[in-house]
């Protein structure tokens, strides 16, 4: 098992290098440091000296990939690519173009993101599984059909609509919760209720439908029929046989997103003004601060790969027949 995990981690290295090369190419080859300097300095009539100075200050004065000026050493290391991208591997995020330390920002803004994403994830999963099980209980009935139609309708409504409706009714008309914003500590709960509810509601349609299919697959298996044939009550069949076995594919399929919960959601956070990593990224995108965007892309990829490894491990945990090799 340990050997497998180590090998998977090593396999992740070329992938992360690939991610870095890709983002680097996107950001630097199309948008050269000179253009970045012009955008950041924000002046049409800027003299070349100020541009040079800006580049030296932020370390953008080096060659992009290969440093052929200096052939003794630093052929590959004394370049922008190495400086800006490969340092990320030791989680050295460097400084944003505004001069703030990105690592500190991430540590600070991670918690609000988690405070929204984790409850949404847990409540959403529970609600979806409960609904799906309830629908499966009445399978092949009019209620089943109606519930599935409702799910398709819910899925077809834009997520933005739920946000607008929620903010308008809960916050503006009925004054139950604040429209947006965030406070640290226990006060955060008031601000978190609405985003969590809306996050859960917008996921109900798709989630319930998917889990219903998985439960139905389980419900059609032979052991369930045997259980019924020997006279096990319907509810016991549902909770003792179908639920635990149906949960296996569900839980293993959601493991992959758990690490990414740290990243927060770009949309939820910007709609509700939560100072998490999602809104951090969005602000960086709008301010064209590529140092931050690059760091966030890297962080996102790392978390995704960790999620993939966790998925594999979770398979062996719930199903002893699966051996990692």
């Amino acid at each position: 098992m340990l050997a497998y995990i180590i090998r998977r981690l090593l396999y992740a290295v070329p992938i992360l290098v690939g991610v870095n090369v890709l983002t680097f190419a996107l950001f630097f080859v199309v948008n050269s440091p000179d253009q970045m300097a012009l955008v950041q300095l924000g002046d049409k009539h800027i003299d070349p000296q100020a541009v040079e100075q800006w580049k030296v200050q932020r370390g953008y004065d080096k060659p992009l990939f290969i440093n052929d000026r200096d052939d003794s050493q630093g052929l590959l290391t004394d370049t922008i690519f190495f400086d800006k991208s490969m340092r990320l591997f030791v989680l050295d995020f460097g400084k944003s173009d505004e001069g703030r330390a990105i690592g500190d920002d991430i540590q600070q803004r991670m918690w609000p993101s988690l405070a929204v994403a984790l409850p949404t994830f847990i409540v959403g999963l529970t609600v979806n599984i409960a609904f799906a099980l309830f629908v499966v209980m009445f399978r092949a009935s009019l209620f089943d059909t109606a519930a599935m139609v409702a799910c398709v309708v819910l899925m077809s409504i834009s997520g933005v609509f739920y946000v607008f409706a929620g903010q308008y009714f809960f916050a503006k008309t009925w004054n139950l919760v604040p429209i947006s914003g965030y406070l640290a500590g226990i006060d955060a709960v008031r601000f978190l209720i609405l985003p969590v509810i809306i996050g859960v509601i917008s996921g109900i349609g798709g989630g319930t439908r998917l889990y219903r299919t998985l439960f139905l697959e389980e419900a059609n298996k032979d052991y369930v029929r045997t259980a019924r044939a020997k006279g096990v009550p319907e509810l016991t069949v549902l909770f003792r046989h179908i639920l635990p076995n149906g949960l296996i594919p569900i839980l293993t399929s959601v493991v992959v997103v758990i690490p990414s919960l740290f990243m927060g959601s770009l949309l939820t956070e910007s709609f509700f003004g939560i100072p998490g990593l999602g809104s951090y990224t969005l602000d960086a995108i709008q301010a064209q601060d590529f140092a931050i965007v690059r760091s966030m892309v890297f962080l996102g990829s790392v978390l995704y790969i960790i999620g993939l490894i966790l998925t594999d491990i979770s398979y062996t945990l719930v199903d002893p027949r699966v051996r990692l090799s």
Binding site: P14, L22, T23, S156, S158, L282, Y304
Partner: protein
């Protein structure tokens, strides 16, 4: 009548090419008896054929809106002007064309378009939504809601708006019903004659099993709705006007093209890539497989929305630094739009690629594929004859399932500022405006409502249709 200058945008070309390709694909599928049977089960269901008609209606609007042209400007008398070029010998005057690019849909909706007010107005209202200073007859300045310039301008002071709307609605609905009735009767006659004479139709033909009642009703609703909009749109702003006084319904209908195109182009632009890489990874294995797996793991590990946002920013930079390539605003917006479609496709092709690889791995183990290999049949032929037909259902299902996702994604992307060009009509841009509109008092709700409803109908139809297609084609969900 002056001739117009056609404008061919890249996305226009692409959409027509793709629609042609899709039709060819369906014709090809229809030859295969197995696929025919599956399609029949899609269209026999009432939901399937109703959803298909609605989608067809949207696609038709998008196609009409994809035939662009520029109208010539009226010739200006240039006698003795300073800017007179040395072309006095020319007999034919040079025709200058308007910078504004119009489409055939604009011509159809001429009643709705070009009757702009100055600012917001409520649906069916003939008064503006904002008070303005007005000078009354005795010279006093009062703040009142001014009459709109166009909406209800045929009404006299004191006429009832409701009565007029009611009267015109009745007239237009009756027209629609009459058109529909004529269509139904014609079709009924034709079918009766066919069953009597058997004009080449077999008993298992689609015509015998299609749910005609549902089709008539759906078509009827669409026809009557269109009549109603065309009639009333000439006299009122059915869904009000937006901030700069443009008709909201017109904007919403123009946005159909953006929505439909983004749904189709985003998948289809990257479809060849997914098919090629997925099948060759599963078929050739070895280093090809490793390479393809590496590529799609790398791409899918980048958070999609970040990749989209970053790429859109870069396209903006490219457009800013190469202004000479784009003469018209529409061309610039179109380039950005196509790039957005491509990027959206790039973030989603990996899923299909993975599926295709797994399925190809399975299919290439089948005995007849092994036999073909043993006989020394060339790789290209094996893939074309044996593997591709076995994975077509995956491609089809992915196509229809992704469509609605992209339509919804467009709205969200425009909202965070990395969507289509602001000059393009799109539901995302309309919703984007709504952030300010919803915080007004009283609330301006009609613009955002129009965007949501029009989007909802398309996405719902697409989702329902996708469900039926999946049920019919996915062997796992059979039974």
């Amino acid at each position: 009548m002056l001739a117009v200058q056609p404008v061919v945008l890249l996305s226009d070309l692409l959409i027509f090419a793709l629609v042609a390709a899709l039709i060819l694909f369906f014709v090809q599928l229809a030859r295969d008896p197995l696929a025919r049977g599956r399609w029949r089960s899609v269209f026999v269901s009432r939901i399937g054929s109703a959803a298909f008609l609605v989608i067809l209606f949207y696609v038709l609007m998008a196609l009409l809106d994809s035939l662009h042209y520029r109208e010539p400007l009226p010739a200006i008398a240039t006698s003795g002007s300073v800017a007179e070029p040395a072309s006095e010998t020319m007999t034919e005057p040079v025709v200058h064309y308007s910078q504004e690019v119009k489409s055939v849909l604009d011509a159809v909706l001429a009643g709705l378009h070009g009757q702009d007010e100055t600012t917001y107005s409520e649906p069916f209202s003939i008064y503006s939504f904002a008070r303005e200073n007005q000078t009354s007859d005795d010279g006093n300045v009062v703040r009142a809601f001014p009459r709109l310039a166009h909406a209800g301008s045929h009404l006299q002071e004191g006429d009832s708006v409701a009565a007029d709307v009611w009267q015109r609605s009745l007239k237009s609905v009756l027209t629609g019903v009459a058109i529909m009735a004529a269509l139904v009767i014609l079709h009924w006659q034709w079918r009766l004659r066919c069953t009597a004479q058997g004009c080449g139709l077999k008993s298992d033909d689609m015509g015998a099993v299609l749910p005609w009642k549902t089709i008539y009703i759906t078509l009827g609703v669409l026809v009557v709705g269109a009549c109603w909009v065309l009639e009333l749109g000439q006299y009122y702003h059915i869904l009000g006007t937006d901030k700069v006084g443009q008709d909201v319904l017109y904007q919403g209908l123009k946005a159909i093209r953006t929505g439909v195109l983004i749904g189709t182009l985003a998948t289809l632009l990257t479809l060849p890539l997914a098919i090629l890489l997925g099948i060759s990874a599963g078929y050739f294995r070895g280093w090809v497989d490793d390479l393809v797996q590496y590529v799609y793991t790398t791409l899918s590990s980048i958070p999609g929305i970040l990749l989209i946002a970053a790429s859109v920013l870069l396209i903006d930079v490219y457009i800013e630094t190469h202004p000479e390539q784009f003469q018209l605003t529409t061309e610039r917006a179109d380039f950005k739009f196509l790039a957005l479609c491509f990027i959206l496709g790039m973030t989603s092709w990996t899923g299909l690629c993975r599926l295709l690889r797994a399925e190809t791995l399975k299919v290439s183990q089948l005995d007849y594929v092994q036999a073909a290999r043993a006989f020394g049949v060339r790789h290209g032929r094996i893939i074309g004859r044996h593997i591709l037909p076995n994975v077509t259902h995956l491609i089809l299902i992915a196509l229809v399932l992704d469509f609605s996702g992209f339509v919804l994604a467009e709205a969200v992307l425009s909202y965070i500022g990395v969507g289509v060009d602001p000059s393009m009509a799109s539901w995302g841009n309309m919703i984007n405006e709504a952030r300010a509109e919803l915080s007004r008092e009283p609330v301006v709700w009609w613009s955002v409502a129009a965007a949501f409803v029009l989007m909802f109908i398309l996405v719902l139809a697409a989702n329902l249709f996708a469900d039926k297609v999946r049920d019919a084609f996915d062997p796992r969900s059979a039974g």
